[in-house]
Amino acid sequence: MLAKTIAELQAEGRTPEILFWVGCAGSFDARAQKVTRALCEILNHAGVEFAILGNEERCTGDPARRAGNEFLFQMTATMNIETLNMYGVKKIVTACPHCFNTLKNEYPELGGHYEVVHHTQLLNELIANGKLKLKEGGDFKGRRITYHDSCYLGRANDVYEAPRALLETLDVDLVEMKRSRKNGLCCGAGGAQMWKEDEPGNKRISTERIEEALETNPTAVVANCPFCLTMLQDGLKAKEKNEQIPVYDLSEMILSRL
């Protein structure tokens, strides 16, 4: 089994050093599930004792809160905090920048105090302290790749270097888009846009973003967020480039080097 729930682990009398917050996308979205599995494989490979909440995990409430539904946010967040506190969770890793932001910045005011890291930060940590040893070479060495900063890891939380450090470890030929880091352009999914059609306009935001990515003439586009993955793939589909150019999450790239 790729991952045990915290309840299963505690039944064995063990306590995880870190909780993997899978999130709704990571749990249910077919594309994001691949990232979830990749991260589990990496953590298992590195010998990290981790657990998931399984069916005790609920949506963090990010889309509800940003849509304006504070009642729903407070409800779901409070339930999550009750669960996390009951299990005595201290440290959380997540592959979703929206979950990351909510858990890290918005749960403390509601009584949930945890050390929260994004998976790109944890992977760097594991590589730095030698727990994660990567094979030489790999599929990505020297490949021309562009990286998309997600808004919720980037601007919202000022994490720009951890994902780039991984790309450096992977020895890719990173080509930055014109709008990157603090000036990165949104993929179009945030603020609960993922759950609705675009307002009237002349272009999809994902198309605008992928056009910029294509200007770098990449062999692959890299993201750190399940929603960005979806949007960037949609953008590539709209440009009929989805066959030639894949969109990867960083964990998938690291996995290929184990």
């Binding site: 998931i52 399984g54 069916n55 509601l110 609705k196 675009d198 009237p200």
Partner: protein, 445 residues
């Protein structure tokens, strides 16, 4: 004597008008909900010094940043000459500081002159960028009419100010060189020592004296004009940028303001004890009269924080926020700059009603709201990406207003995009953002 009298009269009238204007702005800012903002003084000073004084965020785009810096530094340093104009104006002296400062005076006035030339060049380039090159962010729909004229008027005013300085200094230099009585020597000014004779060298003493006085009055009149016009103009940012950067929120951009009153309700509903709350938290629903439904979020300036209104008045309509907004870039109606302008214009409208006694703040109802200006379509286009917040050179946050209005839409009006309902229902009933049949951990099998 006559000049002193005239000067005091003009200064008095201008101060009175300016005072009225600034009081109006101050009063309108206070229409917002009271909120204590402070603490972490070191970080706040850092923001004022780096962002407001140091113009750090302007330098994302170096060309306008450098040009803007010329105008800004010229403005700051010209205050020395302005102070002298005041002293001379009141006491009937002529270049009062020159006698006491000697060589340093020459240096200061020369610096003002050099920067004035740079500011002049910058202003001309700004006018060209705006009107000839038509930089797109200056030509969005919200810039039609007054905002367009306002921007050009300010730039024109700057040119007049600089013209005044050089008439005054140039004329003075010509008269000094000719040894005319009363125009004592002040050393060589960097620009007017050659510009003065070049422009006015062929004119009679009397004419040059008129030009010198004309420059002096033109400059001070324009300064007073600016002062009175500021509280009606986007140009107010030259003052409000400082308090605005001081009061800007210090949390990471990803953090959304909590709603303690709802938190309290939810915990009560779930049978949980209230959290030990930080200062000022809790209580809001109790403040409502019994039987009255509490209003959540913001539909008007009265339900926004005073900080949002301060930010609206600090906005100089540069449009850097709108230029980076993914919704705006892709042709949606949302423009973060328009959100700020709408809040300011609505504050003006509400403020006028309250000031005239037609409405009271506590019972305010003029049949209109912020939603008449900012439509749901605009609010719904936002991806909460924080690009606008990042782009603002003076730390304005349009996103906070958008989110407060979304809260009002959902919580108070029970409106909002119908497509969000399945997501809400699913989170409420199944704990997931999508309604799914399989188990949450089914991916691991």
């Amino acid at each position: 004597m006559l000049q002193s009298f005239l000067f005091l009269l003009v200064a008095g009238a201008a101060s009175w008008f300016a005072w009225k204007g600034f009081s109006r702005v101050w009063r309108n800012i206070q229409l917002g909900k009271p909120e204590k903002i402070g603490g972490e003084k070191a970080q706040r000073w850092r923001n004022v010094l780096l962002v407001a004084m140091g113009q750090q965020k302007m330098f994302k785009n170096w060309l306008p940043a450098v040009l803007h810096l010329f105008i800004y530094v010229a403005f700051v340093i010209t205050q020395v000459e302005l102070l002298e104009i005041f002293v001379d104006g009141i006491f009937g002296t002529h270049r009062f500081f020159a006698t006491y400062l000697g060589g340093f005076y020459t240096f200061v006035i020369s610096s003002i002159e050099v920067l004035s030339v740079l500011a002049f060049v910058a202003t001309v380039i700004f006018l060209a960028r705006r009107n000839l090159l038509r930089v797109p962010r200056f030509w969005k729909p919200e810039m039609k009419g007054f905002p367009f004229r306002d921007a050009n008027l300010i730039l024109l005013g700057e040119i007049i100010l600089i013209t005044g300085i050089f008439c005054m200094n140039g004329g003075d230099k010509v008269l000094q060189i000719r040894g005319v009585e009363h125009y004592h020597l002040t050393g060589n000014f960097a620009v007017s020592t050659w510009l003065g004779p070049a422009l006015f060298g062929g004119l009679s003493d009397a004419t040059v004296m008129v030009i010198e006085r004309f420059g002096w009055w033109l400059h001070i009149f324009t300064v007073f004009g600016f002062l009175c016009y500021l509280p009606y103009s986007k140009h107010l940012h030259i003052i409000l940028a400082f308090p605005n950067t001081w009061y800007a929120r210090l949390t990471v951009k990803g953090h959304m303001e909590n709603m303690p009153e709802i938190q309290k309700e939810v915990r009560l509903m779930m049978g949980l004890p209230p959290l030990p709350s930080p200062e000022g938290v809790g209580g809001a629903p109790d403040e409502n009269a019994p039987g009255e439904l509490p209003e959540f979020g913001a539909n008007d300036v009265l339900s926004l924080s005073w900080l949002n209104i301060l930010q609206a008045y600090s906005c100089t309509e540069c449009g850097r926020c709108t230029a980076v907004c993914p919704a705006n870039i892709t042709g949606k109606k949302l423009s973060p700059r328009k959100v700020m302008m709408d809040v300011r214009d609505r504050a003006e409208e509400v403020g006028a009603q309250v000031a005239s006694g037609k409405q009271q703040v506590a019972s305010y109802d003029d049949g209109k709201s912020l939603f008449d200006r900012i439509t749901p379509e605009e609010l719904h286009a936002c991806t909460t990406c924080n690009a606008c917040v990042e782009a603002c050179p003076v730390l304005i946050n349009p996103l906070e207003i958008i989110l407060e209005m979304r809260r009002h839409e959902i919580l108070t009006q029970s409106a909002g995009p119908a497509e969000w309902l399945p997501m809400f229902n699913s989170i409420e009933n199944a704990g997931a953002a999508w309604a799914m049949s399989e188990a949450r951990e089914a991916w691991r099998d």
